[in-house]
């Protein structure tokens, strides 16, 4: 494991306009994630963890500070640039899976490669490989509404992996799953991490966080704790 910082956040501030008042959500966040780490971000609702994840995922902008992703400064990006970096560096896994309903499992997994202009035959071949890794090869031609929650999330993970991103951002990936399926999904994340993929998981479930290698605890927009969980 090398020490290159994939994610480096310096003094990030973010506030929302809420009528007359300004809602200061992130108050000078500082932290970095090195390649190969598996970090969970915890905190109560309103602590700013989702906002932080959105900024890390270049889905949202920030007011001040600096955010380097793969040593590139992510600031005032055009939507075109942002889309490019998201596609190249980041894989997303969402709580509600967010699969495209009219595409089958294989096509969903292949979608990021579509935006990289990879040929259809090539990307479907790759998608099948990733589905195979998730144990879902037989479900390749099924539509999302024919699959269980766990299956959908595994497809979403395959989709996040296929573009070989620098980091996978997971926003409550087990939030919509029962505990057994949750553990299966975490097993997959373990596997992925062991292959050297950097993972950042936002969760409010303690046992999920305990399965990561590092926990960052947010409270009212500041980092309260940053520690290694002891099993």
């Amino acid at each position: 494991m090398n020490n290159k910082a994939i994610i480096s956040v310096k003094n990030i501030n973010k506030s929302y306009d809420a009528g007359i008042n300004k809602l200061h959500v992130l108050k000078g966040i500082e932290f970095s994630v090195r390649q190969g780490e598996m970090v969970s971000i915890m905190g109560a609702s309103g602590s700013g963890k989702s906002t932080l994840l959105n900024i890390l995922g270049i889905l949202d902008n920030y007011d001040s500070g600096e955010y380097h992703l793969n040593e590139v400064l992510m600031q005032n990006l055009s939507e075109k640039k942002a889309a490019y970096y998201r596609n190249q560096f980041i894989g997303f896994v969402f709580q509600s899976f967010n699969l495209i309903s009219f595409k089958n499992a294989m096509e969903n997994v292949a979608l990021p490669l579509y935006y990289q202009k990879v040929g259809r035959r090539q990307r479907n071949k790759l998608a099948l490989e990733y589905l195979d890794r998730m144990g879902l090869k037989d479900w390749a031609n099924h539509m999302p509404n024919e699959l269980s929650g766990g299956q959908k999330q595994r497809i979403a993970i395959a989709r996040a992996m296929i573009s070989k991103p620098k980091v996978i951002l997971a926003d409550e990936p087990t939030g919509a799953l029962d505990s057994k399926t949750s553990q299966e999904v975490m097993d997959i994340f373990d596997d992925i991490n062991n292959q050297g993929v950097t993972l950042i998981i936002v969760t409010h479930e303690h046992d999920i966080a305990m399965r990561t290698r590092r926990i960052v605890r947010l409270r009212d927009g500041v980092i309260e704790q940053d520690y290694i969980p002891q099993n």
Partner: protein, 425 residues
Amino acid sequence: MFDRDRWQEIFTALKKNKLRTVLTAFGVFWGIFVLVVMLGSGKGLENGTRNGMGGFATNSMFMWTQRTTLPYKGFKKGRRYNFNNTDTKALKDNVPEIDLLAPRLQGWSGNTNNNVVRGLKTGAFSIYGDLPDYNRIDPVTILQGRYLNEEDVAEKRKVAVIGVRVKDVLFTPKENPIGQYIRINGVYFQVIGLYKSQHNGGWAEEQEQSVEIPLNTLQQTYNYGDAVGWYSITSKTGISVSEVEDKAKVVLRQRHSISPDDKEAIGSNNVEKQFKKMDGLFTGIRALVWIVGIGSLLAGAIGVSNIMLFIVKERTKEIGIQRAIGAPPWKIVSQILMESIVLTTLAGYCGLICGVGLVELINLFLTKQAANNPNPERAMFLNPSVDFGVALTALLILVVCGAIAGLIPAQRAVSIKPIDALRYE
């Protein structure tokens, strides 16, 4: 261009709510349908009217005598006068711009007593004295025999060319009129030709119940001296007939001691001007058709725009996901534009085909009707058609309309921040 994922997305979006898609498409369908049918009908009306003019030379004009309205050279106003054979020569000599000059004289009009007799059959017809050139200015279709020629005039032959209506009255249907004799006001003439008018309506009827004989035969036989009723004149190529009209009038005024300022003494009718007026009319009709057609097309396009806004709203989250995964904005915009264009073009294409189909059907019907009718009334509506250029223009307009209709919704789709789009339920 062919991108399976893109087309999959387009048809998924359109199939999702079929009724809505069909209703929206109908707006565009109707717009282009109306445009095409109206353009076709306008063309039909134009063809019919132009056909009604017959083979009338567009560079022709007519002049006849009226009463003078100004006193001049000792003559009081209100004087009558006649053109005569020396005027014909003077016009030929003094107005070199004249191409054809056909003096005409009407012996009797068709609405008096029966003036033409053959055996026991009689009829009242208009009798005209003509020169061969007249048939090059206002041509008739010769069905049998021939028109008057120079020999007829030179020898002052007593020959007659008759309209089909004359033949119907004086001959039985199976009789061949050519070579037969008819008696016009007591004098026998040999029939040498049978003709049909190229005009329509009353004009054709009038022309077809006429008898044409050589001008000088008419003048001498019936004691008209050297009188000429009126002139039909065409100008040489490249010269405006209005110019000829002015020059000819100067010559005639001088010869008949008419004041140069007397506008009323010589009556005239300039076909060139009439054609120009008609051109203006049809240009106006065409403009109106385009304005109304484009208007209804626009209404259809606005409907498409509206529905695309809806589709974009429905798919906000999906678009958010695509953007999170790395879809560049242009991909989203072009996707929405393509959907809009596909919907508009498909619907419009159907409208185009149905419109052209209807126009062709009307055409077929008219042709069939004309074929079944042995003695057709020449219609005011003929060969309605949509030419290829117009269809192509309409299609182009559709694509542009589709693109414009998709523009606002596409803009809407990328203006939402991806994070808001993702949260949208």
